[in-house]
Amino acid sequence: MDVALARAWLDAAADALAARTEELTSLDAAIGDSDHGVNMNRGFGAVRTALAGASPAGPGAVFTLAGTTLVSKVGGASGPLYGSAFRALGKALPEGAEVDAAAFGAGLRAGLDALVKLGGAAPGDKTIVDAYAPAVDAYDAALREHGGDGDGGLAAAARAAAGAAAEGMRATVPLQARKGRASYLGERSIGHQDPGATSTWLIFQALADAAAT
């Protein structure tokens, strides 16, 4: 992964979140407060702007800047969570213009750890974690299985991660929320797909798309 791919990923994520703003907001209307789409779109739009005006030396710097921007532009629950995850990812990556797929995978896991540390959610709580955790596991498994040399390995691992994120996202539907705003609904949160898990899938799908090209 180099700076170009890091930028391409965040760009693709911004595009996807912009295109799906209404959908994410509708999901949040059902079990939250109708702002997740707008929050994510505002945040990744700001990331795009921040990156356009910056010359980060490596992917680590790209993600740190993205995370910092998310923290200072999004607010709500998703801002600190995604912001911390991206900052942790950025800080976990080794210096240099390029990092290998394994280091990137370790970075993704550092992001997950930061998010879990901040939000305290466990798998099954109906949150971002339900898509993010299986995505990281699938990424690692794919690397282990197929090896991680070059961007081909990263592309395959990212594809696996996106698939697992999608599955995790869909698996939030029958869950009763135990964290975040949806938890206030108690049993009424059952039967709805979690908005945060959905944006996480979009972000991993954007990674897969960016890595594939």
Binding site: I31, Y184, G186
Partner: protein, 332 residues
């Protein structure tokens, strides 16, 4: 969506422009998106800071002023403010005695204020926090996000604000705020959903003869849906839910707030207050102070929340202390 706005993205900013024009005694920083009391910082005075998503007006910016908040940090509609705002507010109001964050218990608010507290601490500002979680519609549990912070926030801000004005230190102000929160319980009922400018349509559909019971202040559905009932029965069920949490017992004094969620006319709130007052009298609770009006709202939601806070002489003295803000004003 029928609103007096120009563009959904500009609502918070443009309302702040209006707030600034209407209240020249407040300092509205549009860049940082914070509202600061004119005299801040005051040497030796603890700075009281609150904030949260917009859409709850007059909370919080309407509570900035003498005897209440030193600064408010309005986020986007229903979106907690970002750490930068909160740190900017701390810098603007810290007079060397530190600041107290009054935080409503929502995941987003808690995390953003926590991040801000760390950053402010790095800048040498002492930060204490009060977490408000008065909404008894939500069960408390360490496994979930816990109870929401709703109507009691105003009581915490007023009473802690009065203590801060008297010159108490940050730890004492925060401890008192926490005590007010613990003495309070709230419960809310919605007759309609609200519409955020960004979403453009109501968060849920509610038939003509139904109400949402146990809603929060973010337009989310409540704990359950029920048949619409007469005001007397609504007052009874609301008060029962609150008294079950035992904020106050027979023979004790209370501060009671019947609060509109934004689109409920005052005539209905007074009618409800009459019901609540009668019920509390029967329960042996004396209403020492009350407020009836729109204080902690949820955009254009028709509905009401009831907050009951056990009062003792100290709380009443601080409640009665002078306050001069856009939305609460007495004693000066």
């Amino acid at each position: 969506m029928k609103k007096f706005i120009n563009h959904p993205d500009a609502v918070v900013r443009e309302a702040l422009v209006g707030l600034a024009a209407a209240h020249p005694d407040l300092r509205v920083d549009l860049e940082q998106q914070i509202v600061v009391r004119a005299e801040a910082p005051r040497a030796g005075k603890v700075g009281l800071i609150s904030g949260g998503g917009s859409g709850h007006e007059p909370m919080h910016a309407g509570f900035v002023g003498l005897g209440m908040l030193d600064a408010a940090c309005p986020g986007e509609v229903f979106t907690s403010p970002v750490p930068d705002q909160i740190v900017a507010a701390a810098k603007a109001v810290d007079g060397g005695a530190g600041v107290v964050h009054i935080v409503k218990n929502y995941t987003g608010d808690v995390m953003n204020f926590q991040m801000a507290a760390e950053l402010s601490g790095d800048e040498g500002i002492e930060v204490h926090s009060v977490l408000v979680d008065d909404d008894v519609a939500v069960e408390d549990s360490t496994w979930t996000a816990g109870r929401r912070g709703t109507g009691a926030t105003m009581l915490v801000e007023k009473i802690a604000g009065a203590l801060a004005e008297e010159g108490a230190d940050a730890a004492a102000v925060a401890a008192l705020g926490t005590r007010v929160n613990e003495a309070s319980a709230s419960f809310a009922i919605a007759l309609t959903a609200c519409t955020t400018p960004a979403a453009g349509r109501p968060g849920f559909e509610l038939p003509e003869d139904e109400m949402e019971v146990g809603v929060g202040i973010h337009g989310e559905p409540g704990r359950r849906r029920e048949q619409l009932r007469p005001a007397r029965e609504i007052a009874t069920m609301t008060l029962e839910a609150i008294l079950a949490a035992k904020p106050v017992a027979a023979g004790e004094d209370a501060i009671v707030v019947v609060n509109g969620l934004g689109a409920t006319p005052l005539i209905e709130l007074y009618l409800l207050y009459g019901e609540v007052a009668g019920l509390l009298e029967s329960a042996g609770v004396r209403i020492a102070r009350n407020l009836v009006g729109n204080y902690v709202t949820s955009l254009d939601m028709a509905g009401m929340s009831l907050t009951v806070c056990r009062a003792d002489p100290e709380l009443l003295r601080l409640w009665d202390a002078p306050v001069r803000t856009p939305a609460l004003r007495w004693g000066v």
